[in-house]
Symmetry: C2
Subunit: 198 residues, 2 copies
């Protein structure tokens, strides 16, 4: 019922995650109210991302250059590698400011249900890097696919690089998390991961 050009734009916005008809309409109507330069800037930013963004050839993280800023940084500990599913996880971890090692981004997870095997992920390069490092920290999510991937990686790296320490990040109650609101899997992780105090 909208004019063709607006209908087209609404359809494009619907491609974004979690955007339904109403939200796409609101976005498209806002665009139609923006001034021409702003809209041109938006369109250019879309094209630029596609043109300039690549995966770092070392760790697979998103980067405007061949190697990402973390891999190029000589102040980071390149013998400690934090393995994650996607570039978003790198940002989340960097925000803590606690980690001084480097990353490896798998760009996906091994998934039986989606038919994704180890060959389709950035895993060969990780095994290659593991030979030359002290610790591989597996930080894939605690979903079914995340656990499967962590188990697979742990096994392969221990076989190929027996001198490299392989660890998994801790799982348990989140900060401020209440016991009676926690789900069973979180609670079971919290119990099995308990530490001696005092």
């Amino acid at each position: 019922m909208y004019p063709q050009s607006l209908t087209n734009l609404i359809e494009k916005f619907r491609l974004l995650p979690g955007v339904g008809e109403k939200t796409a309409e609101r976005y498209a109507l806002l665009i139609s109210d923006m001034d021409e330069l702003e809209v041109q800037g938006f369109a250019d930013a879309l094209i630029d991302v596609k043109k300039n963004l690549k995966h770092c050839r070392i760790c697979g993280n998103l980067s405007d250059q061949e190697e990402c800023s973390i891999c190029k940084n000589p102040d980071r500990n390149h013998r400690q590698i934090f393995v994650v599913q996607s570039a978003k996880d790198v940002i989340a971890m960097e925000r803590t400011g606690e980690f001084r090692g480097v990353y490896h981004v798998l760009n996906g997870l091994i998934s039986m249900s989606k038919g994704i095997g180890p060959d389709e992920l950035n895993i060969d390069e990780l095994i290659h890097r593991a030979e030359d490092c002290d610790e591989i920290i597996l930080a894939t999510n605690t979903t079914m696919d995340g656990e499967t991937t962590a188990m697979y990686l742990g096994k392969v790296i221990r076989e190929r690089c027996p001198n490299t320490l392989v660890t998994r990040i801790a799982h348990g109650l989140p900060a401020g998390g209440l016991l009676d609101y926690a789900d069973e899997i979180t609670l079971s992780h919290a119990l099995s991961g308990r530490k001696k105090i005092g």
Copy 2:
């Protein structure tokens, strides 16, 4: 912390209504995963909207042409005009399939708080159209600004075109609305707008 091109795109997405940092990140990361043709199509759709979309010169509705499809339709009753705030409201009303008249889109509301006066809205044209029609239905929202605008329009049109009927759409309980969940203003509208039955 993201590469520059991705940061730019995240900033652009944050211009959209209700989009915060996290959502903009998710949108931008999805774009970086799309194939090049899809992204080009998205960018073209943005530019197209800006290039092709205009306000219908009769009613102010959004259109790809000088006159919108409703104003050009000879089967509509051009002597009955439904006055709304924005193009979204036209679509909402058209979805009911109940209205066979035409529209007038003000593209805003008179607003004391935002300093928007009648001269900044599509009102002169409405008064001009009102001279030649049977009924003006005021359908601005029941917000403070919506009521102010309806009151102003009602007064001006009655003065200038005393032969034109001016009506306001009914306000009351929505379909399926429960009495004890309704706010006071809705209930007070429902009471004052009550009709004789039987």
